[in-house]
């Protein structure tokens, strides 16, 4: 870990300006991912702007019947919130499928969206990795890749976005609300928040320099049955091989997003329109153009089978 300076911001706009105005500055909230990466010098911020005093830890109902989740609401608090459990159960189920109780007590809503990939080559500074060191190459593409992405990849990166919460937020059409360094605000639909690796895999999302997430807004509840099925190699404390976040209606229609398969939560609206035809049709469409490796091609079969199980449960 490199030496760094530290300040505690008093307002969102001040925090955004503080990070924007300084080369190598970063926000820190729960620190559950950033500190680990700093110890390995995968992240080496020169300055940390701590946002924990910003009073962004409330969950409030919005005028349209939805919820506004403060950026600093912990995973534990969000998953346990009565209205989330009742009306957005997919979100509660996704959150408790991730990490451990201790980590969820520290991890924040905004920080969780910014969780970086768990690609083992990203974590080993001896290995080439375009995400860690731009244009250094990708050791994963022809390496040990059974955990890695199958769709939306590029020849520069096959990393996944590793989280669970964001998969549920994607299926809920959540909107990320931010403050810019000049004090203005912006909203980013979850669909556009994470980006595909393309030629610049070192960029995980579409936030600008210094742009601070202040909240995540959930639209009014959409009803339906909520599912989050996370498939992994052990039953807890592991990242998804494939996860399925789904909201299914009695008429067979619904929404579905996949985790563990791409650089972002993977939801293809044209594919979910095929839900009444079954999992095979949805997955064929959603994974059109996928380019899996020999190690991870099973994920497409697994996505179909996991979704089929969810659909069967909805019907039973």
């Amino acid at each position: 870990m490199k030496a760094f300076t530290y300040e505690r911001a008093k307002s969102p706009a001040e925090a955004a300006a503080a990070v924007a105005g300084r080369e190598g500055a970063k926000f820190i909230a729960g620190g559950t991912n950033l500190l680990d990466l700093m110890k390995l010098e995968i992240e080496a911020p020169t300055h940390l702007v701590d946002v924990q005093d910003l009073a962004l830890d409330k969950i409030e109902e919005t005028n349209d019947g939805g919820l506004r989740i403060g950026a600093l609401v912990t995973n534990t608090a969000l998953a346990a919130h009565p209205k989330v459990r009742k009306d957005y159960a997919v979100l509660t189920r996704a959150i408790v499928a991730g990490a451990s109780g201790q980590l969820r007590n520290k991890a924040t809503t905004a920080g969780n969206l910014l969780q970086r990939t768990r690609c083992p080559y990203f974590y080993d500074p001896n290995m080439p990795c375009n995400k860690r060191v731009p244009n250094s190459g990708c050791a994963a593409a022809e390496g040990f890749s059974r955990q890695l992405a199958v769709v939306g990849t590029s020849d520069k990166c096959i990393a996944t976005y590793p989280g669970d919460m964001a998969i549920a937020m994607r299926v809920l059409d959540a909107v990320v609300e931010t403050v810019l360094p000049d004090g203005k605000t912006r909203t980013i639909p979850m669909a556009e928040f994470h980006r595909l690796p393309g030629d610049k895999p070192w960029l995980d999302n579409t936030l600008g320099k210094g742009e601070l997430i202040v909240s995540v807004r959930l639209p009014a509840p959409v009803g339906g049955q909520h599912f989050y099925h996370k498939v992994r190699d052990r039953r807890s404390y592991a990242f998804a091989l494939v996860s399925v976040a789904a909201i299914l209606n009695d008429d067979g229609s619904g929404r579905v997003a996949f985790g563990g398969v791409a650089h972002k939560p993977w939801r293809v609206e044209a594919a979910e329109a095929l839900l009444p035809q079954g999992a095979g049709a949805v997955v064929a469409k959603a994974f059109e153009g996928a380019s899996p490796t020999e190690h991870n091609k099973y994920k497409i079969t697994l996505a179909e089978r996991t979704l089929a199980g969810v659909i069967a449960e909805a019907r039973s």
Partner: protein, 728 residues
Amino acid sequence: MKFDAPAGKNLFDNARIVGKSTRRIDGPLKVTGAAPYAYERHDVIPNQAYGWIVGAGIAKGRITAMDTSDAEAAPGVIAVLAAPKMQPVGSSPFNYAPLFGGSDVTHYHQAIACVVAETYEEARAAAALIRTRYDRGEGTFDLKAKKSTAPMSGEPKTRGDFDAAFASAPVTVDETYSTPGESHMSMEPHATIASWQGDQLTLWTSNQMIAWSKDALAAILGLDAANIRLDSPYLGGGFGGKLWVRADAVLAALASKETGRAVKIVMQRPLIANNTTHRQATIQRVRLGAEKSGKITALGHENWSYNVPSAGDGETATAQTPVLYAGDNRYVAEYCARLDLPEGNAMRAPGEAPGHLALEVAMDELAEKLGMDPIALREVNEPGKTVPGQPDKQFSERNLVRCMKEGAELFGWSKRNAKPGLVRDGRYLVGMGMAAGFRGSPTMKSAARVKLAANGHVTVETDMTDIGTGSYTIIAQTAAETMGVPLDHVTVELGDSAYPASAGSGGQWGAASSTAGVYAACVALRRKIGEALGFDGDAATFADGKIVAGDKTHALGDAGAMSAEDAIEFGKFQRDYNIGTYAAHFCEVAVDAYTGETHIRRMLSVCDAGRILNPLSARSQVIGAMTMSVGMALSEELAVDPRFGFFVNHDLAGYEVAVHADVPHQDVVFLDTPDPAISPIKAKGVGELGICGPGAAIANAIYNATGIRVRDYPLTLDKYLDRLPALV
């Protein structure tokens, strides 16, 4: 004390303390954080500096340049030890791969530098400033590719005419199984604090085998062993990974010498998999030929594994095969390739643990082909009183059939549907599996000193280690029983090389050997007391803090403070016996018919392991091993990247050991079968028995649930997803 013949009736047959479930005497220290682990021994020496290990970024080749100038100039840095500027340290019979020094790199994350600084953070930050250039060499990293040219290790164990018997057998199994490399991944990483006083070197460390490691360190550093002291009273797990001196200890000693300061070093978690030792991968071919009655006529087991180019055996996965089943015609052979991967060395039940994953699945496959119950098949092939092919070597105690039968009863084995894939519980396919287990029960010379205070308090000193196993408690029980005092009148001091040399913790020999050594020392003390007070210590009764000798009664402390030291030495007669431990393991799984996820529902192990010294801690040992078996069967794998020659998933996020949610219900039953051939106490260890077989029981249960046989461990769902029932 010489143990020259099987034990007769003795005080342990009427024991009051040995054999009774006893809470760990070190438990309160452990749960309150008062038992310091090596890296936490802040009080043993002042002014400790912090070392940070730099691991090589290549698997094979040479360091062409190392620039340490920025690191040396970094804040807080006291010294930088750069391997290219130093002579390679020596080696010992216990180390194959080089530990430090010189420019050659023979495995990934080999220690190539050590930064010593005032704080941990400063050392870590400075280490990142070292710039190293390499000339990367070509290496060989793929066992499969080297299998066909791997030479045989030693001679094959043959009997009769295997080829003819296998060719003519009416029912045969011929399958190949593979197991991956595995990492010990103890909760406590390897860690050492080193300090020199003149030419005397003291290491406060985390080590399973104090006497071995003292000698090894002397050889590695070119010192007189008499000038080295190791102290390792508490360990947070070892599993064989801490049988040896590793880079943390070597670098702490070198760095302390260089700086004149005490230096503490912990092996960083991401380095452990590649820097230290691991259980090597295996490829195993098992051929079984049987008559229709189930009687095995041909038993073939060949195993291909590897070690580093310079030395070392492979993972000897055929170890159990010559002993476990009868069979007149045999072919058992080991092959060892030479790969440029990190050093392979002992991990919990080396050989047997992966060996059962092949043999015991092959037995399940044979049972199905024969249409026999797997337990009945094993019963048919139970050897007689002697090891097959070795009429002079009798089994000292062998109750495998009893284990299987009692286990079947307890587990509800009769409810298993022998036809696979038919039991459904909602979305789950449910199945049961079983496997037999065998692990040898070796013994090693073990010494102890027992001190008696005038108030009758007893203190035991031995360099035996407690790696989380419960050694403190079984030693206290043994001393309390022999000296006739309550448990809380005994203090146990372990892990210091200043104490008499014990058997140490390894190979499942620690419990049996070290308690026998403590018994020997107690007997010597009893005689000494008898000499002082004028009675025969062997004939007197020591109980309730008193000594009854003839018509006289003495308090234990009447003869005043004194001490005695002795060792148990195991006689050649033990070679006339096969002394082993046996188990029957059962498992029920539910496999998600959609996703292939395996959920273990319950496990049972019935163990035949001699007298059980402390059923409570023995149970903990076995459930720990059963849990490790879950990891072995389902998720643990050191993934080799053959381009770079390293284990890619080198941390606890990537190397997935079993977690609580994986293991919902476990039962352990001990038959309690005192074995007079092993020691005066007739007790055996169980730490490794519990990992010999449960993984195969899991694999067999998955087959019973799904009808899908996967022979490539770990049994991750990607390997059978396409064979699950079709979606409707």
